[in-house]
Each structure stands twice: as C-alpha cells, then as structure tokens.
C-alpha cells in the first residue's frame, strides 16, 4: 500500500508553466466561439478538476493547441472530441456523451420530476381523511395568534 502511495506521488504529471499563451493563427468569430466552448468542455488530466481552458499544465496547453489546430484545419466539434477521446478515453469529456450507459444521467432527472409531479398530484387530490387529534392549549393559542396576523 505504501509503495503504491509513494509511486503515485512520484508519478510526475506533465505539469509545467506554460499557461494562457495565446494561440498562433486567428479564428473567425464562429470558430472562436467553438474553440472556447470546446476547451471548456474538456477535462485537464493533470489537475483533473479544471478544464483545459483554465489549467496551467503543459498538457492542457498542448491540448488547447491541438483543438485550435484542428478547428483551423476544418474539423467539426465531434471530430475534435473524437481526437481527444481516442487518446484519453471518455474521462476527458466533462459533458458525458449520450450512450446507453449515460442515458440514465441525462434522462433520469426528468423521469424523477415526472414521478414527483404525479405523486404530488395524487396527494393533492386525496379525499378528506382521518381527523386531527385535539391540539394542546399551547398550539391552539399560537394558531389563533397566527391567524390574526394572516389576514
């Protein structure tokens, strides 16, 4: 176990100093927008909790350069994503693709909302049920005071 931790610590990430160096070559506004969106979607493997847009790591700079080059060369967004995932796997996409495995991620919340709304509607249409137990003097007085304020 300790060797594992030690080994992990010695594994030097391809980190470095070249941070926000602007790219060579210019993009038209539409390409620029695509570039910005893409670099904010790709995960930096070195820091692992930043996008390659925000990361200072060498690898992030390399990947930004690659994205830029690919866009200039005419690649589509999907092709750029495929370029990176072919090499690094799906881990590098902050926006999970829609596949059989990730379907639950994209669709699940809406199913849950539908379920919640149905349950709520059922509760709201429930017929009058068991009568309440007699409230204590404490609650009765508070309720009167409250109702006064209500109006």
């Amino acid at each position: 176990m300790r060797t594992l931790v030690l080994a992990a610590l010695l594994f030097v990430f391809a980190g470095g100093a070249f941070a926000l160096t602007p790219q060579e070559g210019t993009l038209d506004p539409e390409q620029e927008a695509r570039y910005r969106t893409l670099i904010h979607e790709l995960r930096c493997l070195v820091c692992q909790n930043q996008t390659i847009a925000d990361s200072n790591a060498d690898l992030a700079a390399d990947l930004r350069r690659e994205v830029h080059t690919h866009i200039v060369a005419g690649a589509t967004d999907d092709e750029v994503r495929r370029y990176v995932t072919d090499r690094y796997g799906e881990f590098v996409l902050y926006k999970p693709p829609m596949t059989a495995r990730t379907a639950v991620l994209w669709i699940g919340p809406f199913l849950l909302v539908a379920f919640g709304v149905l349950v709520a509607l059922r509760i709201l249409r429930r017929p009058r049920a068991v009568a309440a137990p007699a409230p204590s003097a404490d609650t009765e007085r508070l309720r009167r005071l409250l109702d006064e304020e209500e109006r």
């Binding site: 060797t3 080994a7 010695l10 594994f11 391809a14 493997l45 090499r87 881990f91």
Partner: protein
C-alpha cells in the same frame, strides 16, 4: 406500498454506503487508456543514437516490447529505473521514449543511471505522447508481437506491477 415509502430512504443509504466502501479502494485519478487492444499509434521520432536516424512503430514489431515514456526531469522515473535495468539484463526489450526533454540532458542522465533501453527516441514536443495518450511520466506500454498495445502501466513500474500485470503478458507470447 406505504412501507416502501418509509423504508426506501434506508435502503438507498445502504446502497450508497456500499458504493462508497467500494470507492475507497479505487483511485479516481487513474485514467485507463482507450488504446489497450488497439494497434500502437504511428510516430516517427529521431533516435538519440545513432544521430540522424528515426524510430517508427514498424521497427518495434515482431516481438513483445515495453515502450517506456520517461524524462530526465522526472523523479518517478528514477524510482523505476533500477527495475528497468534489471529487466533489460534479463532480456526484456525496452524502448525509451524521451518525453519533452533535451538530448544533452537525457544523455547525461542515462550515463549517470545506466541505459536499459534498446533504443531511445526523443519526443521533444510531446506529439507522440499526445498520440499515445500520455498524461504524465513515467508511463509504460506493453506491446505484443503484432504491435498491439496489451497493457498500460501508469506511474513507475513497480515489482508488483511487473509480476502481476506485465510479465504474464510477455511470457504468454514469447
């Protein structure tokens, strides 16, 4: 039906706890390679020696080989180096890919620590590293005789990793 309503939360908690318990044994930072099972990515890199010549994947084919991405500036590489020297003496083929490094620095480093590599290629800019999905050094790829990537070791090659993961693959195909 109403019991489901009240017991569901406990059940969900138990499932979560089980998931977390499993999760404690996992390493969330490790990124496995999608290249395992695929052919080694193409590259053409200048060799350290002899100068002027290049290394391509074709030169690797025919027999199993370890492709080890390393650098003279990398501390973890020094940790695995003695083991690589030992393996090289035993006849394991190791090719070194010098990642983002200067030839002069790597020459000095190999002179100091020993050279376990059959050949050393210089990946100055890291382009080959990108194509191989390298995100840190050291990383080692195990190639089969047909040039397919069989395994990727992330981090230094430890004796356990050699015994458990790498040697079985090489023995099988020898």
């Amino acid at each position: 039906m109403r019991y489901v309503r009240y017991t569901a939360p406990v059940v969900i908690l138990l499932l979560l706890i089980f998931l977390f318990y499993r999760g404690l044994a996992l390493d969330p930072r490790e990124v496995p390679s999608p290249l395992v099972g695929k052919a080694a990515p193409a590259f053409e890199l200048p060799l350290l020696e002899p100068e002027g010549q290049s290394l391509t994947p074709k030169a690797l084919g025919g027999r199993p080989v370890l492709v080890n991405f390393f650098a003279s500036w990398c501390a973890g590489c020094q940790v695995e180096h003695p083991l690589l020297m030992e393996l090289s003496k035993q006849g394991v083929e190791i090719v070194g890919m010098d990642y983002k490094d200067e030839p002069a620095d790597v020459r000095r480093w190999l002179q100091r620590h020993g050279n376990p590599y059959r050949q050393v290629a210089i990946d100055r800019v890291g382009q080959a590293g990108l194509d191989w999905g390298v995100y840190g050094v050291p990383e080692t790829y195990v190639l089969g005789p047909d040039g397919t990537i069989l395994f990727k070791q992330i981090g230094p090659v430890t004796p356990q990793a050699w015994e458990r993961d790498i040697r079985p693959l090489l023995v099988g195909v020898r």
